[in-house]
């Protein structure tokens, strides 16, 4: 049971090197805090700042009633609330167009909606056309007037993205409601009040009513911490080589298995601590954790598999690095881009290169931590269970085994045999 002695030794070294241990936990925790505060409010039930510039000059309905659909749309936008909530969807202001443009540049508002002069005319035209097509009688005033609503904003600003997405949906629905309401009136069905022409239906993803960008990013931070562990483990292994303690162990009856398997145990415990602590921090700063206690156990399992992949990567790094500083530098050079590649910080573009067991495969699906991240998101963000992650876990295990075999082979060849 020499591996147990190595495991205990490594664990004592990790725990007694307090500065190093806190770095392992604190560095990702800082990332979690930064991302939490930066993205915690995004995409949730917060009003979007919208400037409405209403140039609509109004029109007259077939029953001679004067209407202004621009005012009506503005009122609907002002009154729209999130479902089952008292929070308004938009914080509507009505500045001049030039003022609104200025505010857009300063990012004081998220988007600007410009209602053209002929908006009511176009709406009346739509009503007339709907009446004539419903009754099959040509209308005298029937004509096609097209009106273009402009949604203006900074396309590089994430808040504009969400606001314009919601607006597009509402406007499309507004048009549909006019048609449906007109048809109902013609057929004698009691019509709805103008303000009830449409209800805002901004639907969040099922089960995540308060879903924010941070909910998507938080599991990424856990995976980032797990990948970053490769740097620490590589530096620790290289230090053992550099200080000569590995040579001392090599002279003994210790086998490569004892050293490497023994090392896996304490570092896996570090991963468990990382997952629990980072999840706790994430929850404290607003992560909407789904899935209960079971999801934590699954997250730990997934995290440990990802951790073993990191230790395997560390062995590969330690096989080439000459000292711990070189290992740390080389480790950073590999782990940080890898974190981006697996989508820890932002979603990756979908470029399938094939399918496997009914699942489409991307190029980055060959990296084990991609599946660690997918599985963690599944259990922690979406409340998924074992059935939802079993495929990801299976692939992750397979890729980790491959990486582990490569790591053991390289480290043993360069570090555990007599030097030649």
């Amino acid at each position: 049971m020499k591996f147990l002695s190595i495991a205990i030794k490594d664990l004592k070294e990790i725990l007694r090197d307090r500065r190093g241990f806190f770095f392992i936990l604190l560095f990702p925790m800082l990332f979690m805090l930064v991302f939490g505060f930066a993205f915690g409010g995004m995409g949730g039930n917060t009003p979007h700042n919208l400037a409405v510039i209403n140039y609509d000059q109004g029109s007259v309905l077939p029953n001679n009633q004067s209407v202004n659909f621009g005012n009506n749309l503005t009122q609907i936008l002002e009154n729209a609330k999130y479902p089952n909530s008292n929070v308004y969807v938009f914080n509507v202001t009505q500045p001049s167009e030039s003022n609104a443009d200025q505010q857009l540049k300063q990012r004081k508002i998220d988007a600007e909606l410009i209602i053209p002069q002929n908006f009511s005319q176009a709406s009346v035209s739509l009503i007339n056309n709907t009446i004539s097509s419903t009754t099959n009688t040509p209308s005298a005033s029937s004509s096609n007037i097209t009106s273009t609503l402009i949604i203006r904003g900074d396309t590089g600003y994430i808040n504009f993205g969400t606001t314009q997405g919601i607006l597009t949906g509402i406007l499309s629905q507004y048009k549909d409601e006019i048609v449906i309401d007109t048809q109902n009136n013609v057929r004698g069905t009691p019509g709805a009040q103008p303000t009830e022409y449409l209800n805002s239906k901004v639907e969040p993803i099922a089960g995540t009513g308060d879903y924010t960008t941070f909910d998507y990013l938080a599991p990424g931070m856990i995976v980032f911490a797990i990948i970053l562990l490769a740097t620490t483990v590589a530096a620790s292994l290289t230090r053992e080589v550099d200080k000569g303690t590995l040579a001392r162990l090599k002279l003994s009856k210790m086998r490569g298995f004892d050293l490497l398997f023994g090392g896996l145990i304490p570092w896996s415990l570090v991963v468990v601590a990382q997952v629990i602590i980072l999840l706790a921090v994430a929850i404290i700063i607003g992560f909407h954790w789904q899935g209960g206690l079971n999801s934590i156990l699954l997250a730990i399992l997934v995290g440990v598999i990802g951790g073993i992949a990191s230790i395997s990567l560390a062995m590969i790094i330690a096989a080439f690095a000459k000292n711990d500083r070189q290992a740390a530098n080389l480790g950073t050079l590999i782990t940080v881009p890898t974190s981006f590649l697996v989508g820890a910080f932002f979603p990756l573009p979908q470029e399938p290169i094939g399918t496997f067991m009914g699942q489409s495969f991307q190029i980055y699906d060959f990296i084990p931590w991609t599946h660690t991240l997918n599985a963690l998101r599944s259990v922690l963000t979406y409340g998924g269970g074992w059935n939802d992650i079993s495929f990801q876990v299976g692939i992750s295990v397979l890729l980790t085994i491959i990486l582990f075999v490569i790591g053991v082979a390289l480290f043993s060849r360069t570090r555990l045999r007599a030097e030649s």
Partner: protein
């Protein structure tokens, strides 16, 4: 003859640099074998090959007649020149770890660890982490780690490096007891002449990767002649060569060489020859800046054999 180590014509080549060049030597069972040479002479490289950490470029090393790569791992214990310790483990934990790695049974290991801590005056620091030990304590722990599995061959690479006189005395006594009381074979590499002289049964003098001479300290000293050594520093060192020529003409002078700007003269009953020596120097118009007379040592053997003093 019962040789425990037999190195046969070993060579180690590092990118064209021959660190060890055709070294052949045999070490007897139960002796302290001194490996004497300056830093960079090839001692540590030779030792690393002898213990199996480094593969020779050519040649073979047999331990008890068996290739070093195939021997039982518990046969050799090495105390490296550098401090090879785990900074965050205590003395006791470090020793227990190495004992576990050599598969020493728990009960026996506990006794051995306690004995080693006692013998090397570390008992009161048993539960202190390495970073909090003094330099001398670390050295002693470094040695203890080589002994915890009770190896037959103990390799001590520059064990006295950086030790204070008290720690050095503890170490020397312990090395003697390893040989005399426990019958261990000790290979001792050192650049300290008095260490090699006092502890070794036989001494191998090595420089530039080659074996220059192998014998007992006594025979080596006899080989270059018994007698005294006069060391002289002149006021005009540029005149050293001229003075050396002049001194060689004095009767019964065994040798005169210049070592690092100091004239090194060896002669029987050197004190009686001092007036003649001073006369020769002063007649050349040179003053003696410093002069001393001492007994012949291994260092003089080394100077005689290599023509240079030991490099630190």
């Amino acid at each position: 003859m019962d040789y425990i180590i037999n190195a046969q014509n070993i060579t180690k080549d590092f990118d064209g640099f021959k660190a060890v060049d055709g070294l052949s030597l045999q070490v007897k069972k139960g002796e302290v074998f001194g490996f004497l040479g300056p830093n960079g002479a090839g001692k540590t490289t030779s030792i690393n090959m002898i213990v199996g950490l480094l593969k020779p470029t050519s040649g073979q090393i047999l331990i008890n007649g068996e290739d070093v790569q195939k021997i039982d791992k518990g046969l050799i214990g090495i105390c490296p020149q550098e401090l090879v310790l785990w900074d965050n483990l205590t003395c006791k934990e470090s020793l227990t770890l190495i004992g576990d790695m050599y598969e020493v049974p728990k009960k026996i290991l506990k006794q051995r660890v306690n004995k080693l801590l006692k013998d090397l005056l570390l008992t009161y620091k048993a539960d202190t982490v390495v970073t909090k030990l003094s330099g001398g304590m670390k050295r002693r722990l470094n040695l203890a780690l080589a002994l915890v599995h009770e190896p037959e061959i103990i390799v001590l690479d520059e064990p006295s490096e950086g030790l204070d006189p008290q720690s050095k005395r503890v170490l020397w006594n312990y090395i003697k007891s390893l040989r005399d009381d426990e019958g261990k074979t000790v290979i001792l590499t050192t650049h300290l002449m008095d260490e090699a002289d006092k502890l070794s049964n036989r001494v191998a003098i090595i420089d530039h990767g080659q074996l220059i001479r192998l014998d007992t300290p006594e025979n080596l000293k006899k080989e270059i002649g018994e007698g005294d050594v006069v060391e002289m520093k002149l006021s005009k060192p540029q005149m050293n060569n001229e003075i050396i020529k002049s001194l060689k003409s004095i009767q019964n002078i065994l040798s005169v060489v210049e070592v690092d700007g100091v004239i090194n003269l060896r002669a029987m009953d050197a004190v009686s020859k001092l007036p003649k020596i001073m006369d020769k120097v002063e007649s050349a118009g040179v003053q003696i800046a410093d002069i001393s007379v001492r007994q012949n040592t291994l260092e003089d053997v080394f100077i005689e054999l290599t023509g240079s003093s030991l490099r630190e």
